[in-house]
Symmetry: C2
Subunit: 359 residues, 2 copies
């Protein structure tokens, strides 16, 4: 993995001459620097260490990881290649447990490889090309999905331009436009104005480091707050809608998202502020009937006790550091996907949207 | 102001040979270091820069500041000394606007000086001694009040030993025992066991730097969490009671306390967890009928965007950084003072407790 500089419009992930270029988001907001991923191991490390994060972006990078694994294989026949790809899939899928887009993307790549290999004329070279095309398609589809989410969310925000968001569900978390931030990207194009309150999002500060950065780039009016200030801002009637992304959505509409989302949802509920979740359908996991079954990643205590380089807590203190929490569907006003606006009961509406995709 | 080391049991504030020794809380948890305050200006700076913080501790230190001002005066007569003390009072009272204990303490010192000066036999030396004795009394009374709060709170916690607290309302915020943490200090003496969840309390991290430090010293089972994890911990039924301190309590029971308290109160309300406020009666300000009239101190954006030396947000970003928020009385299960447990309607119960003190 090496760093490179890219002197043009910023981007989250780009395939370039058989290698993958991603922004190293750990360097933001100080530096806009890119890293070249050349192997499956590079991709694994990039996901594990949060160089790239955000459920859709993780899925896209993981898909490209499968393409990289195929491209570099020295397998002598297609069956051997498929076996290698299965190992690659299991390996990358284990990088982080909560976002379902990760396993969704590598499973889709695997299925594509298996279908293509069934053709008698399939060759190793052909399979390698098929996988590159499939990863590119996943990335293009994600961009289209984000664009569509932006349009659908805008239809809900007719008079709601005071927005509060948590974590980063913007362009940095996707191929383009973002999920929660998609209506802002799309709305800006249409001349709409927003005021966005950004939770800094402890412990890793995706809000202050990433969301504030990309909205500032976009020229949006942003106010950064600490997570514990959301209630005060809501109580002052400054927030017309809360919009967040999702890492996994259960069949009943329960949403796993960045730690702190549950609190924001309950506060929005208290203040009768609409609470919207934006995510592509690849985030919905019908294999999980409710949120309690979603595995929650526990991360290192160092993120909390020395997240800023200096020790901010006494040595030896116990820490609880779940990366995500689960918001029960009852507190979610709508789940917005590329197919439209899903309302309660989500067990019906989400299934209907998925049927439209895979009838 | 100079630093000194003190090789015994730690303390928040202590009068010693005409000078005031306070712990420099900005150095915690890395170093337990003390600072000598020798002038009124030292006291002002110590309060303004958060060397000492916590409403009762600010009141005690401000009272000692009045004693210092008197002690160092070269006034030729008692009337001149009173005039100097009035200036001293206004000066110290302006160090921070929200905690009412600050103005309560310096006004009490002033009233004591004025009463004493009315005596024909009053001399400058006598007034100086009277003020030292009054500050010592304020400090002793605070210790007694905290001890009493501990007993009253323990009566509410018979089966509630999973406690969540926000900010620091412990011994570091008072003369001894603390307000919100008083039942833990008193309960430990009686062999009770607690599990305390400590919100780190952004932006200045009084929870992780101070509360976690003093509870660890006390040998209590502590789990440090980020502020945005409180909802997750509550949803897992790990919290039996929330206890916080207060910086000012309005006549109707609305409570101004560290930013984030409002959110914790609303989440506790949602999960039907008792939410207790602990504060000495000197925190109640009957001149303020409801919380909307309490002035809220706005602090520097640097506390949020570079609170730990490194920039954690893009340059030039707008920030909202109120030091406090106001929790409406409807979400407070009880306000516990040295006089007992006040319940709704607080406009009645708080006045009754205050009448017992000043009938």
């Amino acid at each position: 993995m090496k760093s490179v500089s890219v002197a043009e419009e910023w981007f989250t992930v780009r395939w370039m001459n058989g290698r993958l270029l991603i922004m190293d988001q750990r360097q933001l907001p100080q530096a806009e620097s890119y890293v070249v991923l050349e192997t499956l191991e590079d991709v694994f490390e990039a996901i594990r260490t949060l160089m790239v994060r955000g459920a859709p972006a993780i899925g896209i990078v993981a898909a490209w990881g499968m393409a990289l694994a195929a491209n570099q294989s020295v397998a002598g026949d297609t069956q051997k290649l498929l076996e290698e790809l299965k190992l690659a899939r299991d390996y990358v899928a284990s990088a982080r447990p909560t976002a379902v887009n990760l396993s969704w993307a590598v499973n889709r790549m695997m299925a594509k490889a298996e279908r293509s290999a069934k053709d008698d004329r399939a060759t190793i070279v052909l399979l390698k090309n098929v996988l590159i095309q499939e990863a590119a398609l996943i990335q293009r589809e994600d961009e289209g999905a984000s664009r569509a989410m932006g349009e659908h969310l805008l239809s809900l925000l007719d008079k709601s331009y005071g927005i509060l968001t948590h974590c980063n569900a913007g362009q940095l978390a996707t191929s383009r436009y973002g999920t929660a931030l998609s209506p802002i990207y799309v709305g800006i194009e249409k001349g709409k104005k927003f005021h966005v309150f950004v939770d800094e999002t402890r412990p890793v500060l995706q809000g202050s480091r990433l969301t504030a950065w990309e909205l500032q780039k976009l020229g949006v009016d942003v106010t950064l707050i600490c997570d514990n200030m959301a209630a005060a801002v809501m109580s002052q009637h400054k927030v017309d809608a809360v919009i967040v992304g999702a890492d996994r959505i259960a069949g009943n509409g329960d949403v796993a998202n960045k730690i702190g989302t549950l609190g924001v949802a309950l506060l929005a509920h208290h203040y009768q502020i609409p609470f919207y979740v934006a995510a592509p359908l690849s985030t919905v996991d019908l294999a999980v009937s409710d949120g309690r079954q979603i595995p929650i990643e526990q991360r290192s205590s160092d993120e909390i006790v020395k997240g800023f380089g200096v020790a901010t807590a006494p040595e030896g203190i116990s820490v609880y550091n779940p990366a995500f929490d689960v918001t029960p569907h009852a507190y979610i006003s709508a789940i917005v996907t590329e197919r439209g606006v899903a309302r309660r009961p989500y067990s019906v509406s989400l299934r209907e949207q998925m049927r439209e995709v895979n009838p």
